[in-house]
């Protein structure tokens, strides 16, 4: 589902100790760095080597078998994460635990997929609809943009079409392309660009052959003179109505 989209666990096959991979959106969601992990333990004051504290674990395993870990008791929630307990990270003393909260995976910032209505029953993106939006934009561009450029874009849109119909594109890519085409239709150039970037970052192998054409299409479309843009947007609206009528 969406989670797989955001975080790819480290792969033992790739590099030695390769770190996990974060999606474009997750990486860009960084806010002010809190710098949680910055405290150090105070140095020992006595000359004697530090003693190993007696483990107060009442469940120290009996010699022949492994005792289970402490069980979750009723509503009591354990606070393991630095993030929820964190106070002033400059103090040297041991911090008392803050209000306990459950550890939850980090909240994902509103991704483009979720903008379009995050219901799980979202239908399979329709390649016809997506391509027709893009092709309509291209047709409008042909009126003022150099032929060579338009032909290059068209070549790539065909590649996109082929790859999609041949089942070579994964669901996240198809979903995001649908979202991109909607943003393009609506004239939300920056959003469309963000989606293109997120696709290049997260799914470069699948999209690199044709995505630069889509990128160029966004760039050229946004630069069209207002007249042509209006033309484009009018036709888009008409189509949307007709889509709705068809149910």
């Amino acid at each position: 589902g969406q989670e797989k989209d955001k975080y790819i666990a480290p792969s033992a096959e790739r590099g030695w100790n390769d770190p996990p991979q974060f999606s474009y959106n997750l990486q860009n969601a960084r806010g002010q760095q809190k710098g949680h992990l910055t405290r150090r333990a105070a140095p020992p004051t006595s000359s004697a080597p530090p003693t190993i504290p007696l483990s107060s674990n009442p469940l120290a395993p009996p010699p022949c078998s492994l005792a289970p870990p402490p069980r979750l008791q009723g509503k009591k929630q354990n606070c393991f994460m630095m993030k929820c307990c964190h106070g002033n990270n400059r103090s040297d003393g041991f911090l008392t635990a803050g209000p306990p909260t459950t550890t939850t995976p980090p909240v994902q910032p509103g991704s483009q997929e979720e903008e379009g209505g995050g219901d799980q029953t979202q239908c399979e993106p329709d390649v016809e609809v997506v391509l027709s939006s893009l092709n309509r934009a291209l047709a409008t561009c042909r009126q003022s943009v150099k032929d060579q450029v338009c032909n290059d874009v068209e070549k790539r849109l065909l590649l996109l079409d082929d790859s999609w119909r041949a089942g070579k594109l994964s669901l996240p890519v198809r979903r995001r392309m649908e979202a991109l085409s909607l943003e393009l239709r609506a004239g939300h150039w920056d959003s469309a660009n963000e989606i293109h970037r997120s696709l290049m970052v997260d799914h470069v192998t699948e999209v690199s052959q044709w995505m630069v054409g889509v990128k160029r299409l966004i760039a050229e479309t946004r630069n069209l003179n207002p007249e042509l843009l209006e033309q484009l947007q009018d036709t888009s609206v008409t189509d949307q109505d007709s889509d709705l009528l068809q149910g």
Binding site: G15, D18, P19, Q27, L37, A41, P69, C85
Partner: protein
């Protein structure tokens, strides 16, 4: 003293400055007696979301050899509209635009909270950013494919107006012409022959740049593409360049059995530097070098093509058995200097299982402020994400990279001004600056009782504006003879540790390892002798005040760090670690010196624990951050529980949470750190546990050939011991009346 802690923190937050001493000794003699020099860590472009730049140019002192910038320390006569420079005492009239100022209506640059302020310089045409990719094609198929994809991806991350260029190399060097139509043309150079800049420019048919020879007058973007077919705006060539990259093949020259590929890195870089020199001198540019192995032919070769001759190790270097080292280093230093003079920076992205020659090439990045990224293969998330982060954006949507930096440091009195060029900067780039107090002993404390330093950083912002950031700081002078305790309480042990460590690393580049350790030990002992409270010859009486209590520990870890202990690493690895160490901010530098260790358990919130083997317990999970690695270590019992699968059972949900907790805490680091660290998930008995064990235990394997500590005379601390024994020995030496 908690007030100094707050003072130190506030100053760092506002000005990006951390001084070793926050009260300055008033004479040179006293300053040397303090052992740690008066010095500071300075982050010129510290991220300040709360500091919007002002849209006017700075007001400068009119004295020709001063030119200090108007700042909060200046005396102002609002009625006469005159200000007195606090550095040279010259009285300057305000410019006409300041006619309306008054006590109640002051310009920002006079207000104390704007001790750091940024100006946008209006003059001049904005110059485009330039990115020149220099790509090794002697890679394995899978590796090359991954690299190609990363480069294609990066085109989507570049600003549309940036200029981009491509040079590929293997046995030959190819400069690709980027045109919008038809056939792709390229110019080929032999990889064995070095050429002068002039020859390169002639061969590439480069006409003279329109603004050639003019200081700081960059070429307008629309003219650029007119005469440089090799560097074109992204928005124009992205489709063609994407295709070109997609079609790149492995270097076609076959590599016989037992041989290395012939890689002409030296000539490739020479062409790149020459190309930029001839077309865009004095403009922000990044040469990005991607290599999958060492240079094996032509100038700058680091090793021959016979596999049976291994690339030099530290032992080879010690035995003076590294044939190419001196020559190659000299070659790359010359290129680096040329690049720096032009304000161009060079990044090295080196991904290979064996060394690639970072030792010889590191000057390319070190002298120009470029990055060095080291990985095992281009097909790893470590490389891909680190590379992505080169193009990361800040809270304003601008790149976190700045170009053509010139830092000027102005101090009061005799010193005058010093200038340094930092071709490439980012918000965390931190410089170490070391000052000399020049006052004669027993001379009166200078007028005003305060010393002042002004840092003026001019640079090209990633949005192509030229900006000037000015930071002006002051600290009180103190008479060391009567106020030594105050001076002591103003000691910033964290900053001091990093500043001394940087000095150590600097020395290590030219001195023998044991000599550097001896020097570090000597400084530590002297500091303890000066500031420790003790009874003579009674080690048990030894005490250090709070402001110095952590310092010996930092030095203990520094001595054992990969920055000074090189024999456990390859020369390339040492170069890589040192490169990052001397440019990071204080917090990250401390992590590198003394890794952070947190312990997770059922018994309470996560807590920092000693970097000692006693912190390894069966029912704890440890998270260690060394900056270069994040290690999660599961104690024996935890590992057994994990193996038994308790985390899958509903009633042991809390165990699942415990396992997840260190991963979540590590996430912020993994998401933001540059370069991305290696990630080790291991447990008691695991082979990867060695990363943790080597940090917490005295190193057992360290059998070096040099028997330091056995010379007569200089007192020395013993190596290979625990912190406890180290501290004991230190105390003995500090209190000894015969030292």
């Amino acid at each position: 003293m908690s007030t100094y802690q707050e003072f130190i923190q506030q100053n760092e937050d506002r000005d990006g400055v951390r001084f070793s001493w926050n009260l300055w000794p008033s004479s040179r003699l006293e300053a040397t007696r303090l052992v740690v020099p008066v010095s500071c860590l300075f982050t010129p472009l510290k991220e300040r979301p709360d500091l919007p730049p002002v849209q006017y140019e700075p007001v400068l002192c009119s004295r020709a050899n001063c030119k200090a910038v108007l700042n909060p320390l200046c005396q102002v006569d609002f009625r006469a509209k005159i200000w007195a420079c606090n550095f040279c005492f010259q009285r300057n009239p305000f410019p006409p635009s300041y006619a309306g100022i008054s006590e109640a209506n002051q310009p920002a640059e006079l207000m104390p909270q704007f001790s750091t302020i940024e100006y946008i310089v209006q003059r001049g045409t904005p110059a485009p950013l330039i990115f020149l990719y220099v790509v090794d094609t002697c890679l394995e198929e899978e590796d090359l494919q991954a690299l190609k994809e990363s480069l294609q991806m990066s085109l989507s991350l570049l600003p549309p107006n940036a200029l981009v260029g491509l040079i590929t190399f293997g046995r030959m060097v190819q400069v690709h012409e980027l045109s919008c139509e038809g056939i792709a043309k390229s110019y080929v150079f032999r990889g064995t022959k070095d050429l002068s800049a002039k020859q390169i420019q002639e061969m590439l048919g480069l006409s003279k740049p329109m603004a050639s020879g003019q200081q700081g007058r960059p070429v307008a973007p629309q003219d650029a593409s007119a005469f440089c077919r090799f560097l074109q705006p992204v928005h124009r060539v992205d489709m063609n360049l994407t295709d070109l990259l997609g079609e790149l093949q492995r270097d076609p020259w076959p590599v016989p059995q037992g041989k290395r590929p012939l890689r002409s890195t030296g000539v490739a870089l020479s062409v790149a530097v020459g190309l930029l020199e001839g077309t865009f001198p004095n403009t922000g540019a990044r040469v990005m070098l991607f290599i999958g192995g060492p240079p094996t032919q032509g100038p700058g070769m680091v090793v021959g093509d016979e596999l049976k001759t291994p690339i030099r190790s530290w032992h080879d270097i010690q035995k003076d058995n590294a044939r190419h080292l001196k020559k190659a280093t000299k070659y790359y230093e010359a290129l680096a200097n040329r690049s720096a003079v032009n304000g161009h920076s060079i990044d090295i992205y080196a991904c290979a299982l064996d060394q690639t020659g970072l030792l010889e090439m590191k000057c390319l990045s070190n002298l120009t402020g470029g990055h060095i990224v080291m990985g095992d293969s281009f097909n790893t998330s470590l490389f891909k994400q680190t590379f992505q982060r080169v193009f990361s954006k800040d809270y304003n949507g601008d790149f976190r990279m700045a170009f053509g930096g010139v830092l000027e440091v102005k101090e009061m009195g005799v010193g005058g001004t010093s200038q340094w060029k930092v071709c490439s900067l980012n918000p965390s780039t931190t410089l170490g600056l070391y000052f000399e107090v020049v006052n004669q002993h027993n001379a009166p404390v200078p007028q005003g009782g305060r010393g002042a330093v002004q840092f003026v950083t001019q640079y090209q912002h990633s949005n192509t504006q030229r900006r000037i950031r000015v930071t002006t700081i002051a600290r009180n002078w103190a008479d060391a003879q009567s106020q030594i305790q105050h001076i002591e309480s103003s000691f910033d042990q964290e900053a001091a540790a990093v500043l001394m460590a940087r000095l150590g690393v600097f020395r290590a580049e030219s001195e023998e390892g044991p000599d550097v350790l001896r020097w570090l030990d000597r400084q530590l002992i002297r500091l303890c002798q000066k500031f420790g409270q003790f009874n003579k010859d009674d080690p048990t009486s030894f005490k250090l005040s709070e402001s110095l209590s952590l310092y010996p520990q930092f030095m203990f870890h520094m001595r054992r760090s990969p920055f000074l202990q090189v024999f456990n690493n390859s020369p390339d690895e040492s170069s890589y670690y040192r490169h990052h160490f001397v440019r990071q901010d204080l917090t990250q530098s401390l992590i590198m010196i003394q890794p952070i260790l947190y312990s997770y358990s059922f018994y309470g919130p996560p807590e920092p624990v000693l970097l000692d083997s006693s912190s390894i317990l069966p029912d704890r999970i440890l998270l260690m951050d060394t900056f270069f690695q994040l290690v999660i270590f599961h104690g024996e019992t935890i590992a057994q529980w994990r193996k038994a699968g308790y985390q899958e059972m509903a009633e042991y949900e809390n165990f699942k949470q415990l396992l997840q907790a260190p991963l979540d805490d590590a996430q912020e680091i993994l998401q933001t750190r540059f370069p991305m660290p290696r990630y080790v998930d291991t447990e008691h008995g695991g082979s990867q546990a060695r990363f943790l064990l080597s940090k917490v235990n005295p190193s057992q394997t360290h059998n070096n050939l040099y028997a330091w500590g056995q010379e007569t005379g200089a007192p020395i601390l013993t190596d290979d011991v625990s912190l406890q024994v180290f501290m004991d020995h230190l105390k003995k030496l500090a209190v000894s009346s015969s030292a």
